[in-house]
Assembly symmetry: C2
């Protein structure tokens, strides 16, 4: 695989210098054009030790307008990073639309090193590569250009390079102790890297092997590849004018037809109710149990993510209050999800949820969530059919990462009859301090009841997974719903803590 | 001091319930109005154990529209937080303009506990209170409403409360082991809290003592205080229409008159230069030394903040490159500072710099910085005279916090003659890939040379402090400037590491 990067390519100084002005001018121009698009660039710099990854990063930074570039060098993760799923640290440094992010070290580093050092098996490497490929595909489909550079040296070239540095009194500090260690592991490293590249070399995020024995050749090639990727993406954007449209021809999922059909929601028994007395007794009992379990989870470092979805006026807020008033405020946070801000729109739609994932042992409660993508964004056509069609798999991958990290994921849809909703709307409008809760939007949503019903049916069909199943809550009786949720939370958390 | 909060106040159920609808309606309305202003609210909830801080937080959350509120409960700091100055964790959770932030636990908690537990002396408490008072004043002057609630119980009331909870089988879990410990320390705790309150009870951020024996009285009083603070602030905003204008009558600093006067910049010897040969030799030597020192600092957990300011075309970018190409990319980040984004404008102007402070052992390089407040924002009148006048002290406080944490702060102004700048502008315009660096703005800035000179003089006069002095760099000869900076960086860091 690496033979094509061991051909002894090099560049004369005058060749290099004559090519540079045009390349730099076009790079800067492409940056200016990029700013006007919803696109963004992620450059991943990997390769063999001694191939000059850091120098290439510096060179790209020199050539580009630094105001449009973020460079991130990933070192040992901090505890805040270790206490979240693997990809969290990369999401927090993701470039926004219109900008370039350069990753020195990336999601490839850890799986590669772990496998070379025999801390994990090849199957683990393969599984990690599958997750990375999904992640990159998702970013690419969202309009990101994912440019992956592998800077290569043969074992011989690596040896020469390290020796050369060592004998230079002013540059010997550039040789790190791990460099020689890695040199001895060269064959193994290259074998694993080869597999890693093969499994993640995809049309939406291809690998580029660059021969790195000659600095000028390496730098100019990197710059040219970046330029080509940007110009190509700009060309596509120009033709299609919006990224969403680009995939208009993409395949879509079969969906539930909108109408009077039976859906999963018709299976929810809305007659369930609870007397005031029974409710009061149950509430103190369940809250005490929930409190005990949340403290135990905190001690064990088990975190919970709780998603609340449901019809307008289903009582999400009052359920959340019963869940949180029983636990220590230091252990939870509530994230109310409204229309995305400017900053959030400049990222992938999952970004704003990644951001709030709890540390180990904590609880995050989402009042509405990433499922907006396949509910309101689908019904209101804020997302294209291709976009929300692929969102089911994206969401499943996302939740899988949460579960892999040991987070307990709870998902509640609070169901309500159409009549009960009307009664609550009318009641709210009569109470002065609840009036703000009912807006024209709520009435508009209500008019689309059947469309939402179909969307909920598809959502449950596609995203109720083994580790993160949907729980449908009978919500016509508020007391019943609150106790139902507290019981379910306790049951699921207790099972994990056993 | 606390006598006024031990009067046995309470509220009948019907009184409470009849007051509630109006209070809630007005709170929600005030939130709606707040959104349209550049103001924001910070509610700090403190008080005696058992006084119901968490319950008050829940109650306020119930009454307010949750989409406009962020609640933060501060627990033990994470390592990312411990590795930054004390206030960092609070800045990262600060509410943006138009929103309400509720802090359960705050910057008061640690100094209070440390003093009660005798881990620090009263002088340390006093010093911490001085820093907190400055911080709160700065936020208030920026348009934040800082509402501080102290929920109070007498020792006797605390005892009754804890006993009552313990004997209730469903609520005994609400009593934490530390609660009894704190009860035994009650007198001490109250003495320290009293001093803390006295030292930070200021017109811009007053303390409100609330008697907390009766839940209804406590909650209603908290809600009413929040409402009053918001309505008052909205009244002020209405009258003045912009926060900046509010302080038009405020005192200003004496400043350097704009004109042909001698300034500190005239003391810089611009004739200094370095031959190409000498430069090359010095560069490898200084870079090797700088590399060695940065690794040593990383080992010791000493971080560096390096600020680059200077005239347009002074060569900041090329100096930064010489500084960074010698060090491991995992150890530093460069933050180019341009016009603030929407998100950044929704915060205090220092917020975006707090955000990027390095972890222990790392280096952050700011390419332009917080000094923009007293340079471009002053000259271009983006900030009012009162705003930039008080910025000197705000910046000194900010840098003091960095130094207190052990960060080495380096500040370079790269100086240039007006003639040399002209030559560089003209040269840049001739090179295709450098042309983007020269904009109309640069020419406009150049026309205001004397105004900037006066601003630089004031900046150096007011912010060149013992721990964070300004270094003026002769920049007419680029080679000389680069070596000068590398040498200075090494000298200053070496001194700290000794």
């Amino acid at each position: 695989m690496f033979e094509t990067a061991e051909l002894g390519r090099s560049l004369q100084k005058d060749e290099y210098e004559s090519a540079l002005p045009d390349l730099r001018a076009r790079l800067v121009q492409a940056q200016i054009d990029l700013k006007k698009t919803p696109s963004r660039v992620l450059v991943i710099i990997s390769g063999v030790d001694g191939a000059g990854k850091a120098m290439t990063v510096n060179r790209l930074n020199e050539w580009l307008d630094p105001r449009g570039v973020n460079t991130h060098a990933f070192d040992t993760p901090s505890d805040e990073e270790r206490e979240r799923p693997f990809f969290w640290r990369f999401w927090r440094t993701m470039p926004v639309r219109g900008r370039i992010g350069i990753f020195y070290g990336s999601w490839y580093t850890e799986p590669l090193i772990q496998t070379v050092y025999k801390k994990q098996k090849q199957a683990d490497l393969d599984a990690a590569m599958r997750r990375i490929a999904s992640q990159e595909q998702m970013l690419a489909e969202d309009g990101a250009i994912v440019l992956k550079l592998w800077l290569h040296l043969s074992k011989e070239a690596q040896y020469k390079h390290l020796k050369g540095l060592e004998s230079d009194p002013h540059r010997h500090w550039r040789v790190l102790p791990t460099d020689w260690k890695h040199h001895r592991l060269y064959e193994k490293f290259i074998r694993v890297a080869g597999r890693m590249i093969r499994l993640t070399d995809r049309p939406h995020a291809p690998w580029n092997l660059i021969e790195a024995t000659d600095d000028r050749y390496r730098d100019l090639t990197s710059g040219r590849l970046l330029l080509a990727a940007m110009e190509q993406a700009l060309e596509v954007t120009k033709k299609t004018s919006a990224i969403g449209r680009r995939d208009a021809a993409n395949p879509r999922l079969k969906i539930t037809p909108v109408g009077r059909n039976r859906t999963i929601l018709d299976r929810v028994n809305l007659k369930k109710s609870l007397s005031k007395d029974a409710y009061r007794k149950q509430l103190v009992r369940r809250q005490a149990e929930w409190n005990r379990l949340v403290w135990k989870a905190a001690d064990k470092g088990v975190s919970n993510v709780i998603v609340f979805e449901g019809w307008d006026a289903a009582g999400k807020g009052s359920c959340i209050r019963r869940v949180t008033e029983a636990i220590d405020p230091r252990l939870f946070q509530i994230i109310p999800v409204a229309a995305p801000t400017e900053e959030e729109r400049a990222h992938h739609y999952l970004w704003r949820f990644w951001k709030w994932l709890p540390r180990d042992g904590r609880v995050t409660i989402f009042d509405r969530s990433w499922f907006g993508r396949v509910l309101v964004e689908r019904v209101e056509k804020f997302a294209t059919a291709a976009e929300w069609s692929r969102a089911y798999a994206e969401i499943n991958d996302f939740e899988e990462q949460l579960c892999r990290h040991g987070i307990v994921v709870h998902k509640y849809w609070i169901h309500l009859s159409k009549e009960e909703q009307l009664a609550r709307f009318q009641k709210r409008e009569k109470v002065k301090y609840k009036r703000y809760k009912i807006t024209d939007e709520d009435w508009r949503n209500r008019a689309k009841w059947n469309a939402y019903k179909a969307a909920v049916n598809d959502m449950v069909a596609h995203t109720s997974t083994g580790n993160a199943p949907w729980t449908l809550v009978p919500g016509n009786d508020k007391r019943y719903a609150r106790i139902f949720i507290l019981k379910d939370l306790c049951k699921r958390l207790e099972k994990v803590l056993k």
